[in-house]
Amino acid sequence: MDHDADLDGTDSHRAASHRADSHRAASLRAELYRTVRLIRRFEERAIDLVRSGVIVGGIHPYIGEEAIAAGVCAALRRDDFITSTHRGHGHVLAKGADPARMLAELAGRVTGLNRGRGGSMHAADFGVGILGADAIVGAAAPIAAGAAWASRRTGADRVTAAFFGDGAVNQGVVLETFNLAALWRVPVVFVCENNGFATSTRTEDAVAGTITGRGAAFGIPAHTVDGMDPEAVYAAAAEAVSRARAGGGPSLLECVTYRVDAHHTFEYAARPRYRSADEVQAARARDPLEIQGARLPDPVRARIDAEIEEQLTRAVLFATGSPHPDPDSALDYLYADGTRTRSGVG
């Protein structure tokens, strides 16, 4: 998924852009759209499956934030690592997990990425470097840094991207991790998705100072990026990734977006009133799907849309047609070495 292409007009990139290979640029452009579209439609279908009860427990929709996962993962290699969040479907799909197996995971089937053991908040696919989503805000940041450090120590030039939300920058372990990563020049890119809210709490009501300032405090280069524009995110991520790969250490990207959908699908029923419909409508004006779609010739866009519909239709069939796990296997994988301890009745 790696591209040298440079689609960013900033000074920092003009020089590099001379190298830009227009064909690869076009293919990146289309690929970014494909990823955004895939995530958008995947989430819409997943929400249908939540409504129809196929997916139990609901999901945290990534709708409207797709540009971040698409842009960052386009700058990563297949063997690079990522860690993800409770709102992680986009990261997992963008990093290359099979949408069918992802959907099967959400439906709790044995064919799922985690064999039905993880669900929406824990999807992992070590085969493509997805170390896992995490339900605890910020908790995956040190795990990402440790994996990045270990890759380097074992001689690989692998880079790790750690996704987390604006809420996570108030979590001590994330700030401790910034310090460790800077101190040990760890090849990790911290990607903060600032979507304006932590559940119902506005970023500005929870964050004193700035998000980028928290990176800077530890000597970590930190930039604010338009999180609605896949190509802007890609450009910033590509720079951070190449710095990390070259041994330049960590970076922090604050990707500014807006959560147009629910914090979690339970909001569809609960209907909390922490923001106005107008505010949400206004935010919808800038949609990463349209921003990237407008950059493609209509036929190209139409073809991609059709391919994705077909892919997702197959994915839904695969997921819903897959078997449920056997209750007797509930303790499988509790210990990596197969240790068996006592059941609940002795």
Partner: protein, 331 residues
């Protein structure tokens, strides 16, 4: 006399205490928008100085509440997930709990930690399904697990008025229960006082939290065959040992029904205490989660690791049966 929900009981208890005592204040994530409904209406009633939305900084706001308590306030912290207590574990077990003794009695830390939705949430997977009350009983933090709407109100009021830190677990499996009652008639429930939810003569089933209702259902099913007494400890630390001993005096047989991991769980403590010094005519039994259980996501797997009514039924019958055998052997 109205039909009230468990969540409403928590909301009423908190509101009533805030009205009664200006020192009571609330910290937590999304408590102003009342994501869980426990804090519904409190912001409007008591204002932003008493209802504070916190950043996602569990360690800091837990310690912050300790400091506020040392300065004379009586904070309640709402935690959205049981696992968040793990993040604040040092601040609770090593700071709040230890300050009174370590300062030679100078410090009082009247803080209530309320977990709205403990145990499995079906479909929320491994990091949202813990039921860690045994951990707090072990370190010695006062801990309550209300099973009924009435006790949700009475125990939360008692926890808020208590001069020590108290953890209150409101099990997901109990949040949607309803009862006809008038909160004005409900008295605080002293910590350390259990309740016989159903009297019986053959066997005592100690059930914790939402499992009390499953135990009552199983007792009802078995009504003809076996006379089951259902004992609800209500608070797990301090524990009502005299109440349990009195029940075993009547029945002489014990089954513990506990939604915690088996090893070193509350069920172990109850069985051990009974085996040491209470009347038992048959070997006691536990129905718990497996050792070190992590609840998997898929519903079938999640349920397979929770203690079930079928398991309880079998344990009761085996205990009564083995008791008869034991009786026979002895006679």
């Amino acid at each position: 006399m109205a039909n009230q929900s468990y969540l409403k009981a928590l909301n009423r208890a908190l509101g009533d205490e805030m009205a009664r005592d200006p020192a009571v204040c609330v910290f937590g994530e999304d408590v102003r928008s009342a994501a869980t409904n426990v804090t519904a209406g409190l912001l409007t009633r008591f204002g932003p100085q008493r209802v504070l939305d916190t950043p996602i900084s569990e360690q800091a706001f837990t310690g912050f509440a300790t400091g506020a308590a040392l300065a004379g306030l009586r904070p309640l912290i709402e935690f959205q997930i049981p696992a968040l207590l793990f993040l604040a574990f040092e601040q609770i077990a090593d700071q709040a709990h230890k300050l009174s003794l370590m300062t030679g009695g100078q410090a009082r830390v009247p803080v209530t930690y309320l977990v709205t939705g403990s145990g499995s949430r079906e479909g929320w997977a491994g990091q949202h399904s813990d039921h860690p009350y045994s951990l707090f009983a072990h370190v010695g933090v006062k801990t309550a697990v209300p099973a009924t709407v009435r006790d949700a109100y009475g125990l939360l009021v008692a926890a808020i008025r208590d001069d020590d830190p108290v953890v209150v677990f409101a099990p997901s499996g109990a949040l949607r229960r309803r009862e006809d009652l008038d909160f004005a008639d409900v008295a605080p429930v002293a910590l350390g006082v259990g309740r016989v939810q159903r009297p019986g003569t053959d066997v005592t089933v100690v059930a914790v939290g939402h499992l009390v209702h499953d135990a009552l259902a199983v007792a009802e099913q078995l009504a003809g065959e076996v006379s089951v007494e259902v004992f609800d400890p209500r608070s797990v630390h301090p524990f009502d040992w005299p109440g349990l001993a009195a029940s075993l005096e009547r029945t002489g047989r014990l089954v513990v029904f506990d939604d915690a991991n088996r090893s070193c769980g509350l069920g172990a403590e109850i069985v051990a205490a009974a085996a040491e010094s209470m009347r038992l005519v048959a070997p006691p039994r536990r129905v718990t989660r497996p050792d070190g259980a992590v609840l998997p996501f898929a519903l079938e797997l999640d349920r397979a690791l929770q203690p079930s009514r079928e398991q309880l039924r079998a344990a009761i019958l085996a205990t009564v049966g083995s008791a008869q055998l034991a009786g026979a052997a002895r006679g």
